[in-house]
């Protein structure tokens, strides 16, 4: 589904991603963990070209999206993204936050988008917030709305960039629940997170990144119980 070949990314002289090749298959839930500055967020942000790779190629459903001629807006319509800081639009209601993109990109008529928004809000238990503004909501509610906003575009894959890192501890659960449900429905997901419990429970594959490399990867049970590299062992000792 997403094929990454020899991906390099540097900011000035600082090499953040060093020759990464990886493949994400349809229906997979790939969880990416690693210390801060390991390049995991940059890797995720390269997948929908929020960061422009310095070298290498990324292919999404047969289209090489790193080709400068590709219409990136059309590709991004099929890739939902959820951010650490939610990034809801504070100048519009929740309803408008959700319907803006589907209507403006021509995916839906306003009426259909309103219906979709209503159904999605119902699903995450926030249907009474449709007319509220983002700063009237708690962090957990905002992040659930952000997920719904991405889902309204009916994406083929969802990218999560530390979706629970900016939340109060007691709100982490409600967001993870929404993500788990999404995973059960078969959505293809790539998740950068520090939630080891989530990685273990939901992930179909866990990647460990450090220093711009993918050091180790495995299915979760094996990954957490029998880490092979010393780096991963010492990382897991600290976080578990």
């Amino acid at each position: 589904m997403i094929d990454v070949k020899n991906l390099y990314k540097s900011f000035g002289d600082h090499l953040v991603l060093d020759n990464i090749s990886e493949h994400i298959f349809p229906g997979e839930k790939v969880v990416i963990i690693g210390p801060s500055g390991s390049g995991k967020s940059t890797f995720l942000r390269c997948l929908n070209l929020l960061e422009t790779p310095t070298g290498g190629s990324i292919t999404f459903q047969g289209t090489e999206i790193t080709d400068p001629k590709v219409k990136i807006d059309q590709i991004r319509q099929q890739m939902g993204m959820v951010f650490q800081h939610f990034n809801l639009f504070p100048n519009m209601t929740i309803q408008k936050n959700i319907t803006l993109a589907p209507v403006r990109t021509g995916l839906m008529k306003q009426e259909e988008a309103d219906q979709t928004a209503k159904a999605l809000l119902h699903r995450v238990g926030l249907e009474d917030k449709a007319e509220a503004y983002p700063n009237q909501l708690s962090g957990g509610q905002k992040q659930r709305i952000a997920i719904v906003r991405a889902l309204a575009m009916k994406p083929k894959v969802m990218l999560f960039d530390e979706p629970t890192s900016a939340l109060d501890p007691e709100m982490v659960g409600e967001v993870l629940d929404v993500m788990k449900e999404l995973a059960r429905e078969g959505m293809t997901m790539a998740v950068v997170t520090h939630e080891m419990g989530f990685a273990r429970e939901v992930g179909s594959r866990v990647l460990f990144m450090d220093g711009g490399h993918i050091i180790e990867q495995n299915e979760p049970a094996e990954f957490f119980t029998h880490p092979k590299s010393e780096r991963l062992k010492s990382f897991l000792e600290k976080v578990l």
Partner: protein
């Protein structure tokens, strides 16, 4: 004490009479004020439109993906940079003289020339104000818009510009005040605004003090009223933040 007041009144009274009342001269001041306000508003609208275009071109250029540089946009960006550099780096009065004596030497309507000169000048400052406002919006907002598949202009129009507006408004108010006072420079090219009438009347009555102090008070009054309105509007916008 009383005696001296009467002396003062006898001294000043006729001067005020000559400066403001004789021959319905007060009408000329109002006419001048009208032109001054007209100059300010039209030059500001012109400046905002010009500034918005320049600001959007410059920030669109800065946000291009590496390897996808649009050559047209690069040329436009260079033009915009030259424009803001030249206009902000030369005195307004020199610019007005160039418009009048070099570019439009045969144009008799000096107020029209002043519209253009002031508008073009203001545009360069407004462009920087708007660009600053656009940059003040959190980068995550633009990322969120683009990650949903919205194109650059929809992201600007629905997400960035409405949020930048609040940051822009105070500086734009200051620009209005600056421009309002700078319209007095139009007098030097023969634009019939407030200072033009005041100095004409001063010349005719051989007494400059009353007309000049008079228009100074009029400028001040307009600025005070405008500052008050601006403060009110900003408070309203802040309240809507706490919604």
């Amino acid at each position: 004490m009383f005696q001296s007041f009467e002396n003062w009144r006898d001294l000043i009274g006729p001067r005020l009479y000559r400066a403001f009342i004789e021959g319905d001269r007060w009408k000329l001041y109002l006419q001048g004020l009208g032109t001054t306000l007209e100059l300010t508003v039209i030059a500001l609208i012109f400046g905002v439109l010009l500034g918005l275009i320049v600001a959007v071109v410059r920030s669109a250029h800065d946000q291009q993906r590496i390897g996808r540089r649009n050559p047209v946009l690069s040329i436009l960006n260079v033009l915009c940079q030259i424009y803001t550099t030249v206009i902000r780096g030369t005195p307004m009065l020199v610019q007005l003289f160039i418009w009048t004596f070099v570019i439009f030497p045969s144009q008799r309507n000096k107020v029209l020339v002043a519209f253009i000169g002031l508008g073009v000048n203001s545009g360069a400052y407004v462009a920087e104000i708007i660009r600053g406002g656009l940059m003040s919006v959190d980068a995550g907002q633009s990322e969120a818009g683009r990650s949903l598949g919205l194109n650059y202009f929809d992201t600007m129009r629905f997400i960035i510009i409405p949020q930048a507006f609040k940051a822009i408004l105070p500086s734009l108010g200051n620009e209005f005040i600056t421009l309002f006072k700078d319209t007095s420079l139009a007098q030097a090219i023969g634009g019939a605004e407030m200072l033009y009438y005041a100095s004409t009347i001063g010349g005719r009555t051989f007494d400059y003090m009353p007309p000049l102090l008079g228009i100074a008070a009029m400028y001040l009054a307009v600025v005070i009223v405008f500052t008050w309105l601006q403060g009110k509007l900003e408070r309203r916008l802040r309240e809507s933040d706490r919604r």
